[in-house]
Symmetry: C2
Subunit: 397 residues, 2 copies
Amino acid sequence: MTPSATGTGVSGEGFQPPARVVMIGAGQLARMTYQAAVDYGVALHVLATSADDPAVTAGAALSLGAYDRVGDLVAAAGHGDVLTFDHELVPPAHLRTLEDMGHVLQPNASALAFAQDKLHARRLLGGVGRLPVPMPAFAPAGTADDIAAFAVTHGWPVVAKARGGGYDGRGVHVLAGPDDARRLLPGSPGTAEPEWVVEEHLDISAELAILVARRPSGQFVSYPPVGTRQEDGMCRELVMPADVPAEVAGEATRLAESIVAGIDATGICAIELFWVADGRLLLNELALRPHNSGHATIEACVTSQFHQHLRAVLDWPLGPTTLVRPAAATVNLVGGAQGVDYAVRLPGALGVPGAHVHLYAKASRPGRKVGHVTALGASTEEALDTARTAAAILTEP
Amino acid sequence: MTPSATGTGVSGEGFQPPARVVMIGAGQLARMTYQAAVDYGVALHVLATSADDPAVTAGAALSLGAYDRVGDLVAAAGHGDVLTFDHELVPPAHLRTLEDMGHVLQPNASALAFAQDKLHARRLLGGVGRLPVPMPAFAPAGTADDIAAFAVTHGWPVVAKARGGGYDGRGVHVLAGPDDARRLLPGSPGTAEPEWVVEEHLDISAELAILVARRPSGQFVSYPPVGTRQEDGMCRELVMPADVPAEVAGEATRLAESIVAGIDATGICAIELFWVADGRLLLNELALRPHNSGHATIEACVTSQFHQHLRAVLDWPLGPTTLVRPAAATVNLVGGAQGVDYAVRLPGALGVPGAHVHLYAKASRPGRKVGHVTALGASTEEALDTARTAAAILTEP
């Protein structure tokens, strides 16, 4: 219970915070969660790898340490009553250790495993588990031969995904044939645990993300489906609501809710789905934390995903998820050019009426998400047009 | 340019903030301005009297010091390119000193004088100045005899207001007759500068606040008029838009805009007006800073008053002020009971669908504003009902 040396964690003199939450990780998701915590007077303490991390520069109290060192996790956990996460990289054994010590993890270690290990998620959700969740055909892959064997049944190309640790397109490869497979996995056959999942290549009509918030006591709410557009495997643009027929939106929401309840997840959960040309809705992957696909909720919904995450992990009543305007869009700012001068770019972008700019206080680097722009509108086209215009001013070379 | 020892002011490794702003004062207005600064990656440095001040516990970098010590002001001013304020208590001579040293004050010292000194504002705006602003009959008052002389013309009761320093009803007295006047000003007649303004007592139909944001380069925007309801001189409830005829709203807005431009104010300005039973619109007082009457803009308008204040003082493009829903209401949380347990009260209040709760991390004390609740709705009645219900849960004994 030692107070942080570098921040009081929104606890003023004589003020008792309504709750004390610890978040492992201090990136932009923790930054925006912290902004919501300030509204509620909730003390949010983060485990950060650097005092320059986005949540720390926003003001969160911190422990400095590594998410893969159990001692650092335990030290951070002592600063709150509930432990939650801005990424899924904490080793499962450490999560179990924290639970064995009596710390309250939201979501719990068993649920987090579904976000940490794609093979685990595919195996347990794909029919052998409690829920018959529709998903792409898949197989574990330790060698190029495993991939080739899968392709005999499902044809080339195939998609190879690292079981864990991948994000923003890292760890995902489309393989056109056996040569690609050998380049990815040049090693000879062994008996080691397969580190990859190979999946059928799909003809995708749309990618959807369903945000569901769920409390430990079981209450849950869902947001309007989000349509996502990827580029180089990284999410670039999002619209809310997604441009899909109402029955697809409804089925996607029911599927997402059944997954979240089925794995006993808590907090905000992002269930990413493929809507395939043949009409099927298939599970892509899931994240059990505030998610890029929900950034528009800050301005567009009665309750932002960040406020909702705090409410959910604290088992507090959840808030309405309804849109305040008919549509919203978010465009991610992916840092290309070095040395972008925000003193010029930001006023330029704010000259676009209705553009809500969020900068994460991260230096620009190629391929790095450094912020986002959200806009609301009478239609997703209108909102997207506004957000794109402002985002272009902030990122163009 | 010494970096603060206790915060990096939203500037991460390798990230150059778009601007550096200093705010004098670190109360809830600075706290919410800081939350907006985090969105923009703007470094906000505050001059705080305590590390427990609301803006500091939210994460703002700080200088510790007093707003009435010129050395402390100068030290804080070095942390930014623009200096602004969360109150009007800085001595005018110190403001002039800062300007003489080359610091950029937004608003400037001449404009601030209109918010600092009610007699100055009445005299300069009431016909002898540039603008013929309608206002209550008034006179300077140094003694009880001055007040009695005013009452000969205007009748009892009268209203006595301290020239400066008053807020939340402090420094405002309704005087029923000569005995009240003598109790307020028991001293004998002297030649000292009068410290009070005496005004006619009005039959008020409604109190309005018009928020106007103005840039140094002249661009300005106004928000929909706010209706305010006072209790013991402290603002308790606000609705947006105010429940007045369209022609009254229009006249109030034109009047507010002409005052703001006339005194060359910059940043967010709150012009408080009386709508009197005989139909006149009269200037009450003005504040040149983010203002309690604008808190609903956080959720209700495309651009919050706090984002807008930063944009305005930085001479950046101003944002749209339109409502995203037809109506909004804010209820202030005035701390009555000691030891309110927010761990119970806050979840209770969040169980009211659509209640947006903001706690300032201040200990509860009788008569102290410790937070506010905003709600949106199809009508101000609907919004007010939601906000009142949640506020009651947070404050009732």
